[in-house]
Point group: C2
Chain length 241, copies 2
């Protein structure tokens, strides 16, 4: 099976959660929008010319006749196919619920620089971004990371994994979250890091996996930048101290 990933080129963005799963598994995939004519292909889906079931937005994934949209939905589709989630039903709903919490967390990171929504530029909402970022760093960042720390502590079957005793797509996504926070909010993450040692250790271990390290060092990996979700605006990165 050759998977087709559709996501905006130029940013890691939400597509990166999918790429990490595909890369870890050594899956055969094409990053469509980064090929010649790829943006037209994305538009064909979004505008309903290619399909009667158009996605609302990228990322979406095509696998044979199946089209799947939204990061968490794509990962629950890929999980069993790539060996990145345990087999039992209860655990799959659990993993998907964790991934949906990462979805919410990701949007709150995005909203630190876009508190008034995606219709306006950052430059048009800088004052609001300062206030939202302060609340994020003070309240939401420790709440989300603390939640995943508790999950890791409670998972007695696999201390370095969120789900079961082997690597899952949720571990890969939490790694990406930590990597993004290290880029966007280095001071705030350094301040909260000591309270969430298991989360930091998980992220470090994922980064050391052979397939992931190979990918991170490859030209295919798009660096974080100020057009994506995780943006480093130093004015927003305070420790709250």
């Amino acid at each position: 099976m050759r998977y087709e990933l559709y996501y905006w080129p130029g940013i890691p963005g939400r597509g990166e959660f999918i790429r990490l799963a595909l890369e870890e598994a050594g899956a055969d995939y094409v990053d469509v929008a980064r090929e010649a004519g790829g943006l037209d292909a994305v538009a064909g889906y979004l505008e309903g010319e290619t399909t009667q079931r158009p996605p609302f937005a990228p990322p979406f994934l095509k696998a044979g006749d199946i089209l799947v949209s939204h990061v968490a939905n794509i990962l629950q589709f890929l999980g069993p196919r790539l060996g990145l989630v345990p087999a039992d039903e209860a655990t799959r709903y659990w993993a998907h619920g964790l991934q949906l919490t990462i979805t919410d967390f990701t949007l709150e990171v995005h909203d630190t620089h876009h508190p008034l929504g995606p219709s306006l530029y950052y430059e048009d909402q800088k004052a609001e971004a300062l206030r939202r970022s302060a609340a994020f760093i003070e309240d939401r960042l420790p709440k989300f990371l603390g939640y995943f720390e508790r999950i890791l502590r409670a998972n007695t079957t696999g201390r370095e994994h969120l789900v079961g005793d082997t690597l899952s797509y949720v571990d890969l996504s939490l790694y990406h979250m930590v990597a993004g926070l290290r880029y966007a909010f280095p001071a705030a993450l350094a301040a909260v890091g000591p309270d969430v040692p298991r989360v930091i250790a998980l992220a470090d271990h994922v980064a050391e996996r052979a397939a992931i390290r190979r990918y991170l060092e490859s030209p295919h990996r798009i660096p974080f930048n100020e057009d994506g979700i995780f943006r480093h605006y130093p004015e927003l990165d305070r420790t709250g101290g």
Copy 2:
């Protein structure tokens, strides 16, 4: 199977998307937090005393040994069990993707009154709420509703349904979205309504279904109010004209 729904009492909130599916199907369920001692039961799950797999937040659903969190995850779990989604795999991923778009839409409605996040009161972010609501009404509201209008137009198998030719949990959720918008943003919805006649018709038909009407007229249904997601603050409801 007796389902246990865990959600904050006092607001329809995100729990309402679940209640509508359970009510339409005539399922046996208990709204735990509205029973005596129910809030302690919710806390027991959230704090990890009752389970090693604590949800991040309500709503969550218990079905025998399975615990499922997040609205869209709960609905994809319930869909086949309640006869509220077609059987084929591609359609289930499609329905879940639509539901996740409703999740995003719901959060953007919430953020009209909480653009600086859930850590602050509305009274502490009224000026920002005005700006975010203007962008929501101008840009995001027509974009989301227009998307669902396109889906209804493209679905040649069932003109009054988003997915296939019968009622699904996604139809019920879109009904609730329209009902909430009618409450929170009556002027803005009246302005965009003529552009999305299929969405409005779907909502009206769902409201007329026997089980839904019975539920809406029952004391179990919690009215919209200013502690929930859909809040009627007249100052935020402009037509953009």
